[in-house]
């Protein structure tokens, strides 16, 4: 089975798992009394946010290793992780406001998670733009790696500064968003969703990686050995 096919199968399995999560979340998980059905958006929003950030950290790690090892596989992986991270960021940034409107009464709230994800989104866009703007594969990989490492190092500062900023602007306390300690069946749904998103990340990255590989084989030029 080619790499692309493996990726496709993984993605299909992941989408099936996601469908199962949908069914479980929508039909078999209790409705939260204070927030109502809209609270269920949480089951998609948070796993997506977790993977948006993890994908960025992985881009950073791959970038560090690329700069020292010059292994093209690392560069391909970074590119794939960045693109997939952008997709997940889009999910967070669309489900966030849809959740915010009924809960906080406003589409955008500058809450910690949304703000951090917005900044991550810009980081991803910048990274992909730089990749798009450099012709030479070796140079592209190197420049992208520099940006990737900086992006990864920025993440803790994003969290810190957003946290400090937020403690000045308390969220409208109409309803507290779901506490970390979810009751049993809600927690299970959340965990299944996280698993589905993890599988989606893996499937998408494999496919995107295979795509890069295919493009190089068709004359794109490789950024390093292997």
């Amino acid at each position: 089975m080619t790499l692309a096919q493996k990726g496709r199968w993984t993605t299909v399995v992941a989408l099936v798992c996601l469908a199962a999560v949908y069914v479980r979340a929508l039909a078999f998980t209790p409705v939260e009394r204070l927030q109502g059905p809209a609270q269920k958006i949480y089951y998609l929003h948070v796993p997506a946010a977790i993977w948006t950030e993890t994908a960025m950290i992985l881009v950073g790690l791959a970038s560090i290793f690329y700069l020292f090892l010059k292994d093209a596989r690392l560069d391909r992986f970074a590119e794939a992780s960045a693109e997939v991270g952008t997709v997940f960021a889009t999910i967070v940034l669309t489900t966030g406001p849809i959740w915010g409107k009924p809960i906080w009464g406003t589409w955008w709230t500058w809450d910690a998670r949304l703000t951090s994800t917005l900044l991550l989104f810009f980081l991803y866009v910048g990274y992909l733009l730089v990749r798009g703007a450099v012709r030479d594969p070796g140079l592209r990989a190197r420049y992208a790696a520099v940006l990737g490492i900086c992006g990864m190092c920025l993440v803790p500062f994003i969290h810190l500064s957003v946290f400090m900023f937020r403690t000045l602007h308390p969220q409208p306390i109409i309803l507290k968003p779901s506490a970390p300690s979810l009751p049993g069946s809600m927690l299970a749904t959340w965990l299944f969703s996280l698993a589905a998103f993890t599988l989606l990340y893996v499937g998408f990255v494999i496919q995107r990686y295979a795509l890069s590989l295919g493009r190089e084989a068709h004359g794109g030029g490789s950024p390093g050995h292997v």
Binding site: L129, C150, L154, F157
Partner: protein, 226 residues
Amino acid sequence: MGELIAQAWTVARKDLILEFRTRTALVSAVAFTALVLTVFNFGRDPTAVSTIDLAPTILWVTFTFAATLALNRAFQLELENQALEGLLVSPLSRTSLYWGKLIANLVFVAVVEGVGLPLFVLFFDVPVGHVLVPLIGVIALATLGFVAVGTLFSALVMRTRFAELLLVVILLPFLVPPLIGAVQATARLLDGRPLSESVGYLKLLAAYDIVFVSLASFLFRFAVDE
């Protein structure tokens, strides 16, 4: 170490001499700063919102623009005359090249800020005399952060099309954490609050500077080598 400083100073001096000979970039940046401050004045209703509330934001948006302008010219000179190749072939280390550029950029931005701050005080009638020293400290810390990352990134985008635009796009997420620290600290200072209240933000700024100056300095070689 002494070697590093000497080399960096050589690079910085060259840039600064060039800059102060023609002065066009400097004058444009200063004029631009004055214009931005003027526009801000027309964008608000002085009877509705007190200046003191908006002051930190106005100041920092202006300084951010100024810093970006400065960075855009950072590598233009080298590119125009293929001077960069000459610099790279010379025995100058990449790190000294970075520090030289950083120093030159910092001086440039400092001059612009040096004109901008009094203008700001004048246009918006904001008393800063009693907090001038800590304010300058905050300005210095934040500016160092912007310019450190920006100097690295300007090398990265140097050879791409739409370099100036790309620079701003990739730089923006990196400006947010120091901006949060700077605006909050400035707000507290202008408000007459004791310095102890801004300590968290000052630590944020300092940590950012330490991390990103070192990181940028180290990664610079990957951004300029062929």
